[in-house]
């Protein structure tokens, strides 16, 4: 589906006018994403020469804004749910895009539906992908989403509309090299349920944002995430959960690992709006700082706009290896580095093991990549 021209014109206008991010906070707080790194990225409109990704393992492949595989899953024209006025990066994304691909997943699909968004090009070239996935009412779907950057800058937007009573198991794996912006926006109907697993790995400046809008009554989201930063990576992972429907429930747990000179940020935002009465939200984050040059940051926010709330809680920890743990492992003859390696291994495998068995195939591939990353450090 081509981008409507009026939308593209508006996006082009706004791309130079509005800021990447508005900070309405005290002077102490700075940007967590280094947006200035995106300034060097130049829109290509998809006209980039780069190697096509391997598509055998996927049902849908979109590369540098073009559909390579999965035409049979394309649905009818749909409305684009994001607006260029939201931020400069979204305006730039829409201005850089030729097509948006609507995908419809109907009925129960036992196997994984695997979607790859891939981008690549020269270091300063910006490529964009956008897909809208509709999960039909009462369907049960296992969706594995991979966002893979092979060089160059990338913006990737995935809009997911989960129908009434539907269940979506969503596995997202994102790995990047140069500055990348990813937005996954999930809107849930009444009684819909989403179990999300997210793994975000490395990148010069990776801004990975997930929005869950619990629109319908009784909708729920249970999210488990793992952030991994090594080398000089900077990863800003942000999960926003908006309770709009009554009796909605959210639960978000994030584990983050910062190694070498990496900076890893976990931001969690749970909002119970005045319409989202009798809802509950819980946001939890643990950032493991595994090196003296690594940086960990946590921003767990709860906003409650009504007293008719079942409960809203958050907790966050930024820390390295526990002193007792270290002492114990040292007594067993391990150095601090080895002990940290063990903790990292345990966190990663523990997370991968917790992912639903429906994603066995994808998890096995992710495990292989993560283990080679840990071993190769």
């Amino acid at each position: 589906m081509l981008i409507p021209s009026e939308l593209r014109i508006k996006a082009r206008e706004l791309a130079n006018k509005i800021p990447y991010q508005l900070i309405k906070d005290s002077p102490t707080v700075k940007y967590y994403t280094q947006w200035n790194l995106f300034d060097r990225c130049i829109e290509t409109g998809g006209n980039t020469l780069s190697k096509l990704p391997q598509s055998n393992d996927y049902d849908v492949v979109i590369h540098n804004g073009e559909l390579i595989k999965g035409v049979e899953l394309l649905g009818d024209q749909v409305n684009i749910g994001i607006d260029p006025s939201e931020s400069r990066i979204i305006a730039r994304h829409l201005a850089n895009l030729r097509e948006v691909y609507p995908i419809v997943i109907k009925g129960d699909v036992e196997d994984e539906v695997k979607v790859l968004l891939s981008y690549g090009g020269e270091q300063n070239e910006l490529n964009s992908n956008h897909v809208i996935i509709n999960v039909s009412d009462y369907a049960v779907v296992n969706l594995a989403l991979s966002i893979v950057g092979n060089g160059g800058c990338g913006t990737n937007v995935v809009e997911v509309n989960v129908g009434d009573g539907a269940t979506l198991n969503l596995l997202t794996y994102s790995t990047n090299i140069n500055p990348s912006f990813s937005l996954i926006r999930v809107t849930e109907g009444s009684g819909a349920s989403v179990n999300a697993y997210t793994i975000v790995v490395n990148g010069e400046m990776t801004h990975h944002r997930e929005d869950y809008i619990l629109q319908g009554q009784g909708a729920s989201i249970n999210s488990n995430s793992l952030e991994f930063g090594s080398g000089n990576s900077r990863v800003d992972y942000m999960i926003n959960i908006m309770h709009v429907g009554e009796h909605t429930m959210s639960n978000s747990t994030t584990r983050a690992i910062a190694l070498d000179s990496a900076t890893v940020v976990h931001r969690g935002f749970g909002r119970i709006t005045d319409r989202g009465r009798w809802s509950s939200t819980s946001i939890e984050g643990k950032v493991f700082i595994g090196s003296s040059n690594a940086v960990g940051m946590s921003v767990p926010i709860i906003i409650v706009d009504t007293g008719d709330v079942n409960g809203a809680r958050h907790s966050a920890t930024d820390a390295s290896i526990d002193e007792d743990q270290e002492l114990y492992l040292r007594m067993r003859g391990l150095s601090r580095e080895e002990a940290i390696g063990l903790v990292v291994y345990d966190m990663v495998t523990g997370f991968l093991d917790s992912i639903s068995a429906s994603f066995k195939g994808s998890v096995s591939q992710i495990r292989e990549s993560l283990m080679s990353l840990i071993r190769g450090r």
């Binding site: 508005l22 005290s26 102490t28 960990g296 946590s298 906003i303 709330v309 079942n310 809680r313």
Partner: protein
Amino acid sequence: MGMRQDLYNLIEDGITPEEVLSKNTPVRRSVEIKGEVTKDVVEELSKIKREPDWMMRLRLRSLELFNKLPTPNWLPNWVLDNINLEDYISYARPDVNRSSNWDEIPPEVRQYYEALNIPEIEARALMGLGAQLDSEIIYINIRKQLAEKGVVVLPMEEAVQKYPDLVKQYFMRVFPPEHKFAALHGALWSGGVFVYVPPGVRIEAPIEGFFLISNAGEGQFEHTLVVADKGSYIHYIEGCSAPRLSKYSFHDGMVEIYAHEGAKVKFTTVQNWSRNVINFNNKRAIAERNAEVEWVEASIGSVASFVYPSTILKGEGAKTEITGITIANGKGHVKENGAKVIHDAPNTSSKVVNKSISANGGTAVYKGVVYVRRGARFVRSHVACDSLVLDGDSKAYTIPHDQVFDDTAVVTHEAYTGRISEDKINYLRTRGLTEEEAKSLIVLGFISDVTEGLPFEYAMVLNRVIMLEFSKYGKVA
């Protein structure tokens, strides 16, 4: 008692509590500065105070910054709309001679303080008291034994004259004019108390500064500076009040604390401005090696309040505790009561506890930052925020930022927001309490672990204020 009896009589005469509380007893002023804040205004203020050159220059530099710095976008628009400085009286000197004897304070002024039991509390519980009316300190007194030990408690202006080198070393250096309203404070500051505690001196009972705004459309910019020398101890209490005013007043005070090696400073604020006061208070402390700074910020009154007590833990082993109690009671009320801790040295520790209550359409906000600098080894920090929302129209926001640049730090945060339990209210109502009484009891229970740490007299005052806040008087006061 006289004043209270008058109030009862007025109520019996059929005048509503709102009218009673709005009753203004304007205090005569000998000097009043109003209008746009210009270089001339600042120079005039400095001349009135017969300040040395360095202070005038500091004011002018701050004014320059005030004009340059952007208007904070973290404030609600309606608050900014009501900080129209041209309409405010930026300096009001009451026509009262300063004294250290309450009998010498004119009765029409003294009655404000007597109504709040200030002289009685001073006699029973304090080692010193400075009372500010509008822009000037009108009463100041410290116990003889403290003066003998070399403790200095002076109105800020007098300290600038008498101890320029000492004041210069700290004044607006702990809290430089880094945002627009801190800069405005630097340009217009007036009043406040300077305290210096010599090495090793421990002041066992608190010293209090009490601040009163007597009239509507007024700006109050008092500056409090507490310097605790090595190994000393002081507990300073700050009380704020105002009668119900017919239009907005603006408070933009500043508190700077410097705790030298091994010193301990406890700074308690019971802010009970009336509902027409917009309250900013710029509070920051620096703690040297093994020093301790404890802030207690009870934010009860005002229509909008933005206070973030901050501590920079500069020396190894320094500690801080920041406790906040926030009540946002009323439609449109916005109460931000946050905390900032900068861990700038190894083995420093911090604890932040924030309890907020929002009711009748009020919004309580916690905004906080814990920052651990690279190289600040083995830092420990814990932040806990609890919010109680009393009804469907009220809101509670918790916005913490933890920024950790050292791998040996352990920084933790936890927060919970929940609704008042209907079961508890029903239980108390079956015991004969009204709904308002039941709510205030539950609120008092909710914050009891915080109030228990306060001196008895202040815990009593705070409990009383909170009970009144949830009574019918709370709707207007």
